[in-house]
């Protein structure tokens, strides 16, 4: 019996890459392997993807009509019941995991660790506080179950293939509440562009881009570079782009190989979201912009001049 249980994040068809990152974290806790639980309704494809991941001991599937959409109040009692057999319950530190893990922990009567960035020992972990401006090492006393969310940007995903874990269907007989109902998901289409959280290259725009229309030149550059497109809070607040593109403390924390920021001044809350990028490039008209303090390559210039010239070289 593996000691670590990972709650898989998926959309009914695709396993989110954050699950593979949780597995990497789990291996630092216990290299004997971890179990993955998928909650859903007819999501066999997801269970198969999870079973193929390196380091999975067993995939447990809980299929119920109520699990069609990820509703924390519905999922939490099922996971809490399953957690009886485990010492650790891990979820990704995405909006999915952040919504769910505390509810699971409270049902189990234990605290929860948010945004684990490294495993220092079986019961000792590092996590960021104050928007990443300090790092605290925390210890969990013996005898307590550990429920944690894993900071995706701090862990590489395990290999997505090669594993051949057993898939077992589990029946959990707990009563599920009907007080919370999924209605709909509205999302701005990013077309065929790569996902912001998994893309190797991210092109990002800020207030300096100026308008929704002007973002087109960023999309065009992104398509040439096979990049995802992100934005600062200022650009989202101004209505240039939808909220799911926001990068930063309250948006997405990302770790691409290359991050190129156009017209982003670099508020501390934005920098928190990009500190784990391999290389940060900043282009800004204002040479004093704080983003230049953490950029690996900085260019003082007008993005409307720089981007067309850059495109010519690609």
């Amino acid at each position: 019996m593996s000691k670590v249980l990972i709650i898989a994040e998926h959309d009914g068809t695709h396993l989110n890459q954050s699950t593979a990152k949780c597995l990497n974290c789990a291996q630092s806790i216990d290299d004997a392997g971890a179990d993955v639980v998928t909650l859903g309704n007819q999501c066999a494809a997801v269970a198969e993807q999870a079973a193929a991941l390196t380091g999975v001991s067993k995939v447990l599937t809980i299929e119920r009509a109520e699990n069609e959409h990820a509703v924390a109040a519905v999922m939490a009692p099922q996971i809490a019941a399953l957690a009886d057999d485990y010492d650790y319950v891990l979820a990704p530190s995405t909006t999915f995991g952040k919504d769910l893990a505390p509810r699971v922990a409270a049902l189990l009567g234990v605290g929860q660790l948010s945004d684990v960035m490294s495993v220092e020992g079986p019961r000792e972990f590092k996590r960021p506080i104050y928007a990443g401006n300090a790092v605290v090492t925390v210890q969990v006393p013996e005898g307590k179950k550990i429920v944690a969310t894993v900071r995706a940007a701090s862990f590489r995903p395990v290999a997505p293939s090669g594993g051949q874990a057993e898939i077992a269907s589990v029946q959990i007989s707990v009563e599920l509440p009907g007080h919370t109902r999924f209605v709909e998901l509205l999302s701005g289409s990013s077309g065929d562009r790569p996902d912001l959280q998994t893309a190797k290259v991210v092109i990002s725009g800020g207030r300096g881009v100026g308008s929704e229309e002007n973002f087109e030149i960023l999309y065009r550059l992104a398509d040439k570079m096979n990049a995802a497109v992100g934005a600062s809070r200022a650009a989202v607040d101004a209505g240039f782009v939808p909220n799911e593109m926001q990068v930063g403390q309250t948006g997405k924390i990302i770790s691409p190989d290359l991050y190129i920021a156009f017209g982003i001044s670099g508020a501390i809350q934005h920098l928190t979201g990009i500190k784990d990028a391999g290389t940060i490039v900043a282009v800004n008209k204002d040479g004093e912009a704080p983003i230049f303090e953490i950029a690996d390559i900085g260019l003082v210039g007008d993005l409307f001049d720089v981007i067309p010239e850059l495109e010519k070289h690609l």
Binding site: T95, G111, I129, Y130, V135, H179, T250, L299, H313
Partner: protein
């Protein structure tokens, strides 16, 4: 609806540059400006707007912490909360204990909605609302960017990684607020004067019978790893060359 309970956490102001103490025991908070957690301020603003459009009759602000939290509660009263409760605790209160305290206050006040910030900008935990909802056995709608009410149900738009998710929750419920829900009002001087006369009740955390023992122990604090100083390039050619140098252009 009758009552809305709002949580106001006292935190280091978001404009303060955080410094870790040399001995690693924490971050410097002496002589540092303290404010209402920005997400909690949004929660209070939303509660006030709900009341102002006639959907609630009373807004109660609750804080947990040292006596100094009264400053943040007075600010909340000046913004428009009707009364305030300080649950006095000497030690740091972790999210599970905070949720237990809110549950006790819920038992006394019987609110229809509990509005909390989605996270506090000091410990960045993002847990209290969800834990409270679990202990209370009620719905949670986290990361809210829009809230509407009809017939005992709240329809909440949530900011999630995939976009905007809409869920319906039966009341009473816990709702946690995201940045784009609203822009909090500024406090006017006459309101600060008026706030001094509004009721502020102080309860000892120990009197509520909640287990306050910490769930974890902080071993040490340290500043984050610094990124190495980068280079400035003169023009696009320089940028291309620098990217090629790092093997980042195919």
């Amino acid at each position: 609806m009758d009552k809305i309970l709002v949580g106001l956490k006292r935190v280091v102001d978001y404009n303060v540059r955080i410094r870790v103490k040399p001995d690693g025991s924490g971050v410097v908070t002496d002589g540092v400006k303290m404010s209402i957690n920005p997400f909690d301020e949004i929660a209070l603003e939303e509660a006030l707007r709900i009341k102002e459009r006639g959907d609630a009759s009373e807004v109660i602000a609750v804080s947990i912490g040292p006596p100094d939290c009264q400053q943040q509660l007075r600010t909340g009263l000046a913004m428009g909360a009707d009364r305030a409760i300080l649950v006095e605790a000497d030690q740091e209160t972790d999210p599970l204990a905070a949720a237990g305290i809110f549950l006790e206050i819920i038992g006394r006040e019987q609110p229809d909605i509990v509005l909390l910030g989605k996270q506090a900008i000091d410990d960045d935990c993002s847990q209290t609302g969800q834990m409270l909802a679990a202990l209370w056995g009620r719905p949670q709608a986290t990361f809210a960017s829009k809230i509407e009410f009809s017939n005992g149900t709240a329809s909440v738009t949530r900011e999630v990684d995939a976009g905007l998710e809409v869920i319906d929750v039966d009341l009473p419920a816990v709702i946690t607020t995201d940045l784009r829900l609203n822009e909090p009002r500024y406090v006017k001087l006459p309101d600060i004067m008026k706030a001094k006369k509004k009721p502020l009740e102080v309860i000892g955390a120990g009197d509520l019978g909640v287990d306050m023992s910490p769930q974890f122990s902080a071993v040490r604090h340290e500043p984050p790893a610094e990124r190495q100083k980068g280079v400035m390039v003169e023009d696009v050619d320089g940028l291309i060359a620098a990217l090629k140098d790092k093997d980042l252009l195919g």
